[in-house]
């Protein structure tokens, strides 16, 4: 059991991110208690200052500041050329980003709800993810598509989905998935700085989460997971909203004498196999927690990979916690039937500890 701190509300800032080396040498970067939304807003502001080639584009992002307030006040500071409202044309929004990125701009799109990504799926899958490859490296697509995903608030079938599985099978795309305000800022700045196209998932249930966020230019390296909580007996691999739930479940498991490690993937594609597999080998008991439907998603991939590469070191099979294989219903009690919660993760930790049987 470790003394790593956890809170019920949000994961702590990662203890060491590569970007912390960029902070002035003598005094550590100051941190302020900030919401997830404010952290994203601050990151966009800093990046707009740093990159004159950057612009924001999306529906109701300018005067209104976005459906969740992430782009608030940026219109006043940067003007309508660089904070650009659009009609309801998701394909044109993402296509505009791809074309602009191909000629050296650094666009950041907001797709209001991840459920709408179907409208621009072709642009993401066949253009953003492929122009670098199919044209032999002659173009890059340094763009970010921010979008609000996830359920748990009665949003109904088209405002609640977890979509990472839609894109896991698409080579060329990066998927960032922060679980706390510090990572929201750090991953967004790293995504904007990246020359690869990034789908940036913002879980709606996290927008109001508060946490310490380093001031100034703070990045979290893409493709690197964080050990959000160290432990010896069971590993939980999670992302986004599943991370605070996993931390709470892990704290509860302490009472049963089960020392639980929580890996926050932070980037779900390409994911940090090294950190995941190292933790799996260390504890020999693994829970994989995802909000998305069970079949064919991130949980399936992680479970398969862990079994393939760590089979001899496992004390039992990987235990999966997922959403059910259904659409998301509107009525909250029905939604709760579908989506995994803290209790499910806690039960899975105990099951894994006993050797995998639930």
């Amino acid at each position: 059991m470790t003394a790593e701190t956890t809170t019920e509300t949000a994961a702590p800032a990662p203890t060491a991110s590569p970007a912390s080396a960029e902070a002035p040498p003598k005094k550590p970067a100051k941190a302020r208690k900030t919401s997830f939304t404010q952290a994203l807003n601050g990151a966009l502001d800093l990046a707009m200052e740093r990159y004159p080639e950057m612009f924001l584009i999306g529906e109701d992002i300018a005067e209104m500041g976005g459906d969740f307030g992430v782009t608030r006040k940026l219109l006043a500071k940067y003007g309508p050329e660089r904070v650009r409202d659009t009609p309801l044309s998701e394909a044109a929004i993402v296509g505009t980003c791809v074309g602009a990125a191909m000629v050296g701009m650094r666009p950041v799109a907001e797709i209001m709800f991840a459920d709408f990504l179907g409208e621009c799926y072709d642009q993401i899958v066949n253009n953003a993810a492929k122009v670098h490859y199919m044209f032999d490296g002659q173009f890059t697509a340094p763009l970010v598509i921010r979008t609000a995903c996830g359920g748990g608030f009665g949003g109904g079938p088209h405002h609640s989905q977890s979509v990472e599985g839609w894109f896991l099978n698409v080579p060329g795309i990066v998927i960032a998935a922060p679980s706390n305000p510090a990572d929201a800022k750090g991953l967004l700045l790293a995504s904007i700085a990246s020359d690869d196209p990034v789908l940036f998932l913002e879980h709606k249930a996290l927008y109001r989460a508060r946490g310490e966020v380093p001031e100034g230019w703070h990045t979290v390296e893409l493709g690197k997971a964080a050990v959000a909580r160290a432990g010896a007996d069971v590993t939980v691999v999670a992302s986004m909203r599943m991370v605070p739930m996993a931390l709470a479940a892990a704290a509860a498991a302490d009472d049963d004498g089960i020392s639980t490690e929580v890996i926050d993937l932070r980037t779900v594609k390409p994911y940090d196999a090294e950190t995941v597999l190292a933790s799996a080998r260390k504890t020999g008991r693994v829970v994989v927690a995802n909000e998305a439907p069970r079949t064919g998603g991130l949980g399936a991939e992680l479970s398969a990979r862990i079994h393939e590469e760590c089979f001899a070191e496992l004390a039992g099979p990987v235990v999966r916690v997922d959403g059910l294989d259904t659409p998301i219903p509107f009525s909250v009690p029905l939604e709760q039937e579908i989506l995994p919660g803290e209790d499910d993760i806690a039960a899975a930790i105990r099951a894994a500890y006993r050797g995998g049987a639930r």
Binding site: T96, V103, H132, M134
Partner: protein, 325 residues
């Protein structure tokens, strides 16, 4: 149009026809992988567009794009044979063989690549145009599309956004009468595409895409208008493709006869040149010269090496390597 200009367009059209006919022959012999969509019969449209697009402009070529790709490559980089090599999937191709017929690109000559998903780049072209506008560059971003693309949602999203943002986009719709097998008038609310584009409120014209004199003049006027910062333009260029569908010719005999014999863009230009006193011998000489040039390109493509197998996993990401098997 002066005679030297027309003679140059005639030469360009023969380059395209020789290219496509040579390619067809090689495809039938099994030397060209994949599928083949030729631009035979549509040479005037491609020659007219290629004549006005500069290396600093950006064009997204259509499904039958070998001709404009080759002309742009030859004119701006002097190595048109690399378009042929790309179609053979060779290391010397413009994309090292990774793109092929529908994804040949070279930004150095303004070629931003076709897209096998019809209409997909109708959205992409907006970004290239928006970047040019934001930077104050006198660039023309050109989307060359077929009539079938008008059925895609991106067509309408694109025209709408280009209009509200006043973007420097040239839409060149190559209406060859059929989306694979579906006649234009059955697939769209109007057989005249221009009628559907007009609602977006910027200048739209329909013209004879097989009359290279008219096509060259109207494309030139549209490009000048856009380059001067006056916003988008839409051209519907009516033409006809020689290639049938996969199972062969499906169109009425009289229609085939009209387009191939009476309204062939090369024969029309030849008639005009002869009326201006250019000799038949000179015209035959141009054809022979282009056929020889293209045979040299085919020889180059055949003799070129296959791509390095390491290319298969290269450039998936900028920031990550993808493991080889």
């Amino acid at each position: 149009m002066d005679t030297p200009t027309l003679r140059g367009l005639y030469r360009d059209m023969w380059l395209i026809r020789a290219f496509e006919q040579g390619l067809e022959r090689e495809f039938e012999q099994g030397n060209v992988p994949g599928m083949l969509h030729t631009g035979l019969g549509q040479e005037a449209v491609q020659a007219a567009l290629a004549a006005h697009l500069e290396a600093d402009d950006a064009f997204f070529p259509d499904h039958r794009c070998h001709g404009i790709n080759a002309l742009a490559q030859q004119r701006h980089a002097g190595d048109g044979e690399r378009i042929m090599a790309e179609l053979f999937g060779k290391a010397t191709g413009v994309c090292s063989g990774k793109g092929g017929s529908l994804h040949s690109a070279d930004p150095a000559v303004g070629n931003f690549g076709d897209n096998a998903v019809e209409g997909s780049y109708m959205a992409t072209v907006l970004g290239v145009a928006l970047a040019a506008k934001m930077r104050g560059e006198p660039k023309v971003a050109c989307a060359i599309i077929g009539d079938g693309t008008v059925g895609r949602g991106e067509f309408h999203e694109s025209l709408n956004m280009a209009a509200i943002w006043d973007l420097p986009v040239l839409y060149a719709c190559v209406n060859n009468g059929y989306a694979i097998s579906m006649p234009v008038g059955e697939g769209h609310a109007s057989a005249n595409i221009v009628d559907m584009a007009r609602g977006y409120g910027f200048g739209c014209e329909q013209l004879d895409g097989n009359d290279v004199v008219e096509a060259h003049e109207r494309v030139g006027a549209a490009v000048a208008h856009i380059r001067a910062g006056n916003g988008p333009r839409f051209l519907e260029l009516k033409t006809w493709r020689w290639q049938g569908v996969f199972a062969g010719e499906f169109r009425p005999e009289a229609e085939v006869k009209y387009w191939r014999e009476e309204h062939d863009p090369i024969l029309m230009a030849a008639d005009e040149l002869q009326a201006r006193g250019v000799s038949g011998d000179e015209l035959e000489g141009i054809e022979a010269e282009m056929r020889e040039l293209i045979e040299g390109w085919i020889d180059f493509a055949k003799a070129s090496p296959a791509p390095d197998p390491a290319k298969a996993t290269a450039d998936v990401y900028v920031g990550w390597e993808v493991a080889r098997r």
